[in-house]
């Protein structure tokens, strides 16, 4: 694989296509090639990895791709991220937001939740993945430690999804609810269900969840800017 002959435009396209097809070694090489050409790590992230993952997300939402293809694409993206992450930290790239995600107590299903996590990382979020079988205490502890903007709760079983209500109640009891944007997702979860347990949003699928998270961060950042402006006055 030699990408050194490709014009820049085609290199980005090739990178997005290879990411879409889950070609890990190619994406690794293309990431290195783009950096070699002098592109900033943030450019490589945006024009290559994030742009590629955006297409994957849309095609997943629209039913062109299913979980296996998306997982392979996310793995390919990870290989590029491994190269970029230390460089991004070095250059102090702006933080998009922090999300704590977990599958609720009693449930070990984490395929969809991990997918959301990978897509969020692909969109530039810092993701703390609590894993499976997470009780309310685990979420509360993670919120106190990591101060996330958003938490995402996932469940696949109809016997475990009601536990999400226990978590939202715990947030209220701990006086953390107002500062956290709560998202709920998982196969049996619906918009109605998410609202009934007191979540802020329903993540129908990974791509939609990322869109919602991004939209929320726009609101958060706007509020922060307003607060700052007010302080200045």
């Amino acid at each position: 694989m030699d990408f050194s002959e490709l014009p820049d435009d085609e290199l980005w396209l090739q990178m997005q296509d290879d990411l879409y097809d889950g070609m890990k070694p190619e994406v690794t090489q293309e990431t290195k090639e783009a950096l070699r050409r002098g592109y900033k790590p943030t450019d490589v992230l945006e024009k290559g990895l994030v742009a590629g993952m955006d297409i994957v997300g849309v095609d997943f939402r629209d039913g062109v791709l299913f979980v296996p293809e998306v997982l392979m694409a996310a793995n390919a993206m990870k290989s590029g991220m491994e190269i970029l992450r230390p460089l991004l930290t070095e250059t102090g790239a702006p933080r998009v937001g922090t999300v704590v995600i977990g599958t609720v107590k009693g449930d070990i299903h984490d395929i969809g939740k991990n997918l959301v996590g990978m897509m969020l990382e692909g969109a530039g979020f810092e993701v703390i993945n609590l894993g499976v079988n997470c009780d309310a205490d685990k979420f509360i502890e993670a919120i106190k430690t990591h101060k996330p903007d958003i938490i995402g709760m996932s469940a696949l079983l109809t016997t475990t999804m009601p536990y999400m209500k226990v978590i939202t109640q715990a947030l209220i009891d701990e006086r953390l609810r107002e500062d956290i944007y709560v998202m709920a997702g998982g196969a049996p979860v619906s918009e109605n269900f998410a609202m009934s347990i007191g979540a802020d949003a329903y993540g129908r699928d990974a791509a939609t969840s990322v869109e919602i998270a991004k939209a929320h961060m726009v609101v958060v950042n706007k509020q922060a800017a307003l607060d700052k402006a007010r302080l200045a006055i």
Partner: protein
């Protein structure tokens, strides 16, 4: 060979009739006091809970189920491990079957085997051999408890079904196997398997019946059944769908398809090609009773006179420019 399940199926086929299976177990146990997150399968070996499991079995049998599924959906070592119960895999599954047999007598007991919850390599860490071994451990317990048929259900990945069937056959080669998958992503399984693909691939495993369970409700299920039956008309098809979608009412999951609604759909499932008919999450003995009544009391519907409630699932294709670029490389 004399097998209660195969006999029942043969009788139904000879009479061009249907077979009633049961409804949901997990949601019934929740109603009986199972706490969110606790393993339903453990109730099989808890002396003070066994009566509650038996009551669910009895409820379905009284409602007209000719087959009941054991309370062992999460009884693979993969899932039991989460509760540090994987060492009890054999005991939990054996007890599930024994309790069911106590209620069923000569009626059919089917050993429920649900998905591992893990992904196969290279997407995840589960190897095929490890999966087979895990399912075999569960099936040994179920066989020791006296099941008439293994019932591999709620599957998304064809390889996982293959592993479960292989594990079941390792444990008890003479016990027949039924496999059903869950088509909850726009008519496909989560892993992208279509109903037609499922029935074609699973028929190669020489299983006794193939079908769909769980999912998004009866309207989507009938399209799945139609697609399966059209692809392989000679195969016995199972329709065992959720009673609609869950909603939260007063802290409990309530399903929007009432017994009347499911009763109405039962004849449609039959007309679209299902032979073995029941329900899944959110259903109760009342659902099964009304479904059995509708199927028994009224003449068969003519499929030609029916329209599917939702369109058949369609495979979306790659964008044309992406296809072109792929072709060029």
């Amino acid at each position: 060979m004399n097998n209660r399940f195969l006999n029942l199926l043969a009788e139904a086929q000879a009479e061009r009739s249907h077979v009633m299976v049961d409804g949901g177990m997990g949601s019934m146990l929740m109603a009986a006091g199972l706490v969110f997150g606790d393993p339903p399968d453990q109730w099989n070996i808890l002396p003070d809970k066994q009566a509650k499991v038996r009551a669910v079995y009895r409820g379905y049998l009284d409602a007209g189920s000719q087959i009941i599924l054991t309370n062992s959906f999460g009884g693979t070592p993969f899932r039991l491990k989460m509760h540090n119960l994987d060492g009890k895999t054999f005991d939990i599954n054996k007890a599930a079957a024994e309790l069911a047999r106590l209620e069923a007598g000569e009626r059919v007991v089917a050993g429920s085997m649900g998905p591992s919850g893990e992904l196969f390599e290279p997407m995840g860490k589960l190897t095929y051999a490890h999966a087979v071994a895990g399912f075999a451990r569960q099936a040994e317990g179920l066989a020791a408890g006296g099941v008439d048929v293994f019932w591999v259900e709620t599957m998304s990945d064809l390889d996982e079904v293959r592993a479960a069937v292989e594990g079941a056959r390792q444990a008890a080669p003479n016990i027949p196997v039924v496999t059903t998958m869950t088509f909850e992503t726009r008519g496909f399984t989560m892993m992208g398997v279509s109903p037609a693909q499922a029935i074609t691939e699973l028929a190669k495993l020489n299983v006794a019946a193939i079908g769909a369970n769980c999912g998004n409700g009866p309207d989507e299920l009938e399209a799945t059944i139609f697609a399966m039956h059209r692809e392989l008309p000679e195969m016995t098809v199972v329709a065992k769908g959720n009673a609609g979608m869950p909603q939260m009412v007063d802290g409990k999951a309530v399903y929007n398809a009432t017994p009347d609604v499911m009763g109405g759909f039962a004849r449609r499932f039959r007309a679209f090609g299902a032979t073995i008919i029941g329900a899944c999450c959110g259903s109760t003995p009342d659902h099964i009773r009304l479904m059995a009544h509708q199927l028994g009391a009224f003449p068969a519907l003519d499929p030609a006179s029916l329209q599917l409630s939702v369109p058949l699932p369609e495979r979306k294709v790659l964008s044309s420019d992406r296809r072109e670029r792929r072709a060029q490389r």
